[in-house]
């Protein structure tokens, strides 16, 4: 029998209502509340401990709350971590997402939660965990918990897991190939699936694409700079150019960190003092001459010619390869804020 730990907020953990929302994390050595529903369904896994934390405490002291929750879990034996269901409760959804993400990262166990499609936590966390499609209020508690329990039971029993839609969780941005017959479906050839889809499309009937195009977050192009000689220009690269010792320990792929490095007084980026740590292209040329990726030499030449005015004393760098859109967007926002605080009004962004 595998062991699971359940995370609940103050209300479902039976501590109290909104007045107890600042309740600080505890780990109880017993199943509480909806753990009973879970234990009635699952055959291969049982909830024996319940963690409870107030939604406000998690929302307003996130780092501390997570740290304390993780500390409580240290040394505990558990195979699966369950949180919620959070229904359409925004703070609760956020708490379930935060704790599941942290627990998965630290203990590398499967984490499962449940939220209503309208819960903002779905968009925030669906790439990081199994979020089951839950009801929008607490009356759905039985069916939501049942769905999580059945799935946790499959994981615990080592059963083959089906695609997101068939299991009932929000797709995590992961796509794998499956033979149709392995899902109990008719092995219809791609040509027949395509023609059938076209017939439906032509008739205005419903059809389901097999490759949904992910929603694209298109950023409008900023208006042109009126006179680039009169403003301060910043330099940013996703090409992984850093000082030789990579002081910020930026990852060579799937980066989550960025750094900024002083270039005041430099005519160009010297090698080997600067190099690339980017694992997505052959580093030979960039290591020989980092300016091929972060073109400080060309920038200085343009300054000398009077075509560019002031250039910021720092350039910013991260690595683009394998970096998720979410991390890239976060780093972009952080770098942009930093650039603004330094009075930079336009950026030359070089990739690889």
């Amino acid at each position: 029998m595998k062991k699971a730990i359940l995370y609940l907020n103050q209300f479902f953990g039976q501590i109290g209502g909104e007045d107890k929302a600042d309740f600080e994390p505890v780990l109880e050595d017993k199943p509480i509340g909806s753990a009973g529903i879970f234990n009635g369904i699952a055959k291969n896994v049982k909830i024996e401990q319940t963690m409870i934390c107030g939604d406000n405490f998690m929302a307003s002291h996130t780092d501390e709350a997570i740290e304390r929750c993780l500390k409580l879990l240290e040394g505990k034996k558990f195979d699966i971590f369950i949180a919620g269901p959070a229904f359409n409760a925004g703070r609760y959804g956020n708490a379930c997402g935060q704790i599941c993400k942290a627990v998965h990262e630290k203990f590398n166990v499967p984490v499962i939660t449940s939220m209503n499609v309208e819960n903002p936590g779905v968009e925030m966390f669906k790439r990081d965990m199994y979020i089951f499609k839950g009801g929008n209020r607490a009356t759905a508690i039985k069916q939501d918990m049942t769905a999580m329990a059945a799935f946790a039971d499959k994981i615990a029993g080592g059963e083959k897991l089906l695609p997101a839609d068939m299991e009932g969780y929000f797709p995590r941005g992961i796509r794998h190939e499956v033979f149709l017959e392995d899902l109990g479906m008719e092995p219809v050839m791609a040509c027949d699936r395509a023609v059938d889809m076209l017939l439906a499309k032509l008739k205005g009937e419903e059809y389901v694409t097999e490759l949904p195009i992910p929603k694209q977050d298109l950023v409008p192009i900023a208006p042109a700079v009126k006179d680039i000689r009169k403003i301060k220009v910043g330099l940013v690269t996703s090409g992984g150019i850093v000082p030789r010792e990579n002081p910020d320990r930026i990852e060579s792929a799937s980066a989550t960190k960025w750094g900024k490095y002083n270039i005041a007084g430099l005519d160009k980026l010297p090698a080997p003092e600067f190099k690339t740590i980017h694992a997505g292209y052959d580093p030979e040329q960039a290591d020989k001459n980092p300016n091929v990726v972060e073109p400080l030499d060309a920038i200085r030449a343009l300054q000398k010619e009077g075509k560019l005015g002031e250039v910021d004393d720092f350039f910013y760098a991260t690595v683009g390869t394998g970096t998720t859109q979410g991390e890239a967007a976060r780093m972009g926002r952080e770098i942009a804020a930093d650039l603004r605080s330094r009075g930079v009004e336009a950026v030359i962004l070089t990739s690889t």
Binding site: G173, V178, V188, A190, V195, L198, L199, T209, L211, I213
Partner: protein
């Protein structure tokens, strides 16, 4: 335009004194067949094998697959412009061996586009050839100039395949087919009112043509399809042997010569013609290197479809990665002029499944068929018999293999990318990607 194909269903292949076919048994005179292969002095070694579904046999590096057929009427050979004088492939009569194919395998050396296929075990179902009785040519050549190149034209082996498939097919010339199929499509403006009332559909083919150096691309009547703008073709031309596969596309994305001659999407559209759709024909496009070429191609496909009166289009891409741009561009341009589209392609989502499935995406592409994941990881157990050379997968730059991917015990790890024709963008695929 009427093309008749007389079918002979192979239940057994065996070697014997005379090449011939009777009662489901295909007999091959090995020496005579090999003599045909050796007509090209560049063939240095050649051997023939027979493999059947369920045989615990692994073939690698597989170069191409062919239907063994002969031309009875119409053109003067099976592949006009390639092995036969240039004549239209769209009409006349062909005799063909069914449930069977010819596979050409390198004895030692593989290349980027070559693939692996298993006749038995877990991965037998990845290709249609795993369910067929196959004559297998394993041969080597003296093409030293490309021996150690990752990109090989594989000319001697591919042409040996053409000759050998014609040689075997020739035994059907005077026989009475067990079944006949007939493919016919009137000129677009000479169709009955009841047909014209149905929604009109074109099939847009994007065979692989992205090599600038000659010798690698899909040929259309022997012509390097890189050097053309999209053109209109009768579906019978494709079924009749006007299109032969090239030697460049990573293998799971490949449309083999066999698959061109048996394109299941064309067959389905032809069968639906007059019932649910008015099938206008094939717009033969290509895949390009430079953005300007891609856009020009897409605009021309769209205007051709529009002016033929198409309401809908099926677009099929032989490839992944860079050519996804051509694929999406065509879908976008067609939708722009009011032609409703459905696409057929594979995806490349990475081993963890988290990468963007196509290099280019557009919200206009609302109806896509998925035929597999290029980067799906496969774990192959050792196979008692290997035809060709297993090490080629690791050594020679096959698209889904890498150094060290073949283990000393004969097991191997590879990406689907190297599985011969496994994603069948021609339309045969019975797998797809799902969200997890």
């Amino acid at each position: 335009m009427k093309l008749e194909i007389g079918k002979f269903f192979v239940k057994k292949i065996e070697f014997g004194s005379k090449t011939g076919y009777a009662n489901g048994v295909l007999t091959i005179n090995k020496e005579e067949a090999l003599a045909k292969v050796r007509e090209d002095e560049h063939i240095t070694e050649a051997e023939l094998h027979i493999v059947n579904p369920g045989d615990m046999v692994r073939l690698v590096p597989v170069k191409d697959a062919y239907e063994m057929r002969c031309r009875i009427e119409g053109a003067k050979g099976v592949y006009p412009g390639v092995t036969a004088p240039l004549e239209s492939a769209a009409h006349g009569r062909i005799h063909a061996l069914k449930d069977a194919s010819l596979l050409v395998v390198g004895k030692h050396w593989g290349s980027f586009q070559d693939g692996l296929l298993d006749m038995g075990g877990e991965y037998q179902r990845n290709t249609i050839y795993g369910a067929m009785r196959n004559l297998v040519l394993v041969a080597d050549t003296d093409e030293e100039f490309e021996r150690h190149e990752q990109q090989k034209t594989n000319h001697a082996l591919r042409w040996a395949g053409f000759r050998l498939s014609e040689y075997v097919g020739e035994c059907l010339r005077d026989l009475k087919p067990e079944e006949m199929e007939s493919w016919e499509l009137d000129a677009v403006n000479r169709r009955s009112e009841s047909v014209q009332k149905l929604p009109s559909v074109v099939y847009v083919m994007q065979p692989q043509t992205q090599m600038e150096v000659p010798g690698f691309n899909t040929l259309i009547y022997g012509w390097n399809a890189n050097h053309m703008l999209p053109t209109y073709m009768h579906p019978n031309e494709v079924l009749g042997g006007a299109v032969v596969s090239g030697s460049f596309m990573p293998c799971s994305s490949k449309m083999s010569t066999f698959e061109h001659c048996n394109n299941p999407t064309i067959k389905r559209l032809m069968k639906d013609h007059g019932k649910t759709i008015n099938f206008l024909g094939v717009i033969m496009s290509n895949l390009n290197v430079v953005m300007e070429q891609k856009v020009r191609m897409a605009i021309m496909v769209a205007q051709m479809a529009k002016n033929l009166g198409a309401d809908g289009a099926i677009v099929a891409e032989e490839g992944y990665g860079n050519p996804d741009v051509d694929y999406i561009q065509v879908l976008v341009e067609l939708e722009k002029v009011g032609v409703k589209t459905v696409g057929i392609s594979n995806e490349c989502t990475g081993r963890d499944g988290k990468s963007q499935p196509l290099v280019a995406l557009d919200s206009t592409a609302t109806a896509l068929t998925s035929s597999g994941n290029v980067s799906q990881l496969y774990n192959l157990k050792p196979m008692p018999v290997v035809l060709g050379e297993l090490e080629s997968l690791a050594r020679d730059g096959l698209s889904g293999g890498w150094e060290g991917c073949v283990k000393p015990d004969g097991s191997a790890v590879l990406e689907n990318n190297a599985m011969f024709c496994s994603d069948h963008p021609s339309g045969f695929s019975v797998k797809r990607c799902f969200d997890f």
